[in-house]
């Protein structure tokens, strides 16, 4: 089982590794590193422009990509923010959560890097 920090769900990552193998898992992780910062930045830009639909779109993709790699906390936060963005931010705005989203991404990325280094 890949060693993962608490921001990563080891069961999900382990299952994925068994399905696709180490080499492809590394490729998937690299693509995640390549695309996710842009999505996080898009959420920040949406906040600056008060663009809820734009944020919902970026969060929708971010959430699923994180979920596939077992980045559970990032996935859950993105989904919560997507819900808030889609409901129009009336009861609660997703914007105060943007910094937390950035931190969660950094932690998930660090944990995934550690897994990559530990892998054969």
């Amino acid at each position: 089982m890949p060693a993962a920090g608490d921001s990563i769900d080891a069961t999900t990552l382990d299952r994925l590794q068994k399905m696709v193998g180490d080499k492809v898992l590394r490729e998937i992780t690299e693509l995640f590193f390549e695309h996710t910062p842009g999505r996080v930045a898009a959420v920040r830009a949406a906040r600056d422009a008060d663009d809820l639909p734009g944020a919902a779109q970026a969060l929708h993709n971010l959430k699923s990509s994180a979920g596939m790699l077992g980045a559970k906390r990032l996935q859950q936060l993105a989904e919560r923010m997507e819900q808030l963005a889609r409901s129009g931010g009336d009861d609660e705005s997703p914007w105060p959560l943007v910094e937390q989203l950035e931190r969660e991404y950094e932690q998930a990325a660090a944990a995934l890097r550690r897994v990559g280094e530990d892998a054969p």
Partner: protein, 301 residues
């Protein structure tokens, strides 16, 4: 090796899903949206399409609608997530075969794809079995009740669609109209012996006489027998009444344009136009009608 086309705008998710499927022995390809997918399918037909719902250019619902029109045989599996529930419902109504939640994709994807392929394969296998089906026969004995005719036609149309996979709606409608005319002739002119001349003269009197004779001996005891046989090449209907018959040779030529406007010739004209073969027995109380089933449709090879 079954082939799967994955339609997903997120490159890392597309690679993940493709890798999961390749690892399980599938031939997996990716397209980044619905427009790309249609282009890819035009070049290489996959066994199943797995699509995201929220995508730029052409979304999952639009893709399902396009595939349902152009490639009915390719099953579509939706990949759902929070935020795409509404569009997923619409896509399922529009013809998608199944769905898998992105939250559980690693756990569920292989089962969902395999299950969908097996169901789709079973339908194709059924088509092979239907090739071996030689004939299905039905025999109905009808009271002289006109209201039975439409439901009976509906039943036969469904049987043709289900048993031989013939789905040309316009041809099926024409077939239904021919059957309707023939059954009505057998009930009204055959069993109840109400003349078509009376119909031409006074439709109300005609209908009155029909109603009256339906409860009067000997007319009320007469039955119409319909024997229908459906095979992959033809539908054959034999409609026999228990009336005194008529001289088919004495009927004005229904294909003569001069007779087209006569209400009494109309039924036979429609029957002769829509059916490929029509003949009466000598005593004129039995009509045999044959419609050849041409998979290529009207005017086809």
């Amino acid at each position: 090796m079954p082939s799967v086309l994955i339609v997903e705008d997120s490159p890392d998710q597309a690679l993940t899903i493709a890798a999961m499927l390749k690892g399980a022995g599938f031939d997996a390809h990716t397209a980044k949206d619905g427009v790309d997918a249609l282009e890819a399918i035009g070049k290489h037909r996959p066994d199943v399409v797995l699509t995201d719902l929220i995508m730029p250019r052409m979304n999952g619902l639009e893709l399902v609608e396009a595939l349902t029109k152009q490639y009915r045989a390719i099953p579509v599996i939706l990949m759902t997530a929070y935020g795409s529930g509404e569009i997923a419902m619409q896509a399922l109504k529009a013809g998608a075969a199944s769905y898998v939640s992105k939250n559980r994709i690693a756990q569920d994807i292989l089962d969902t794809v395999n299950n969908t392929l097996q169901v789709s394969q079973a339908r194709r296998e059924q088509a092979r079995v239907l090739d071996s089906l030689r004939e299905t026969e039905f025999r109905f004995e009808l009271d002289n009740d006109q209201s039975l005719i439409y439901p009976l036609i509906g039943y036969l149309k469904e049987a043709i669609v289900n048993r031989v996979g013939y789905e040309d709606e316009s041809q099926l409608t024409q077939l239904g109209i021919a059957l309707h005319e023939a059954l009505l002739n057998a009930m009204h002119h055959g069993n109840l012996a109400v003349s078509s001349e009376l119909r031409e003269q006074d439709i109300n009197l005609y209908l009155e006489q029909v109603e009256q004779r339906r409860s009067t001996a000997p007319f009320r005891d007469r039955r119409v027998e319909l024997r229908a046989s459906i095979s992959p090449v033809e539908l054959r209907c034999v409609i026999q009444d228990q009336g005194e018959g008529f001289d088919p040779a004495a009927v004005p030529d229904p294909t003569d344009p001069a007779n087209l406007e006569k209400p009494s010739g109309r039924g036979l004209y429609l029957i002769m136009t829509f059916m490929d073969e029509v003949r009466h027995n000598e005593s004129g109380n039995c009509i045999t009608m044959v419609k050849r089933i041409d998979a290529a449709g009207p005017g086809g090879a």
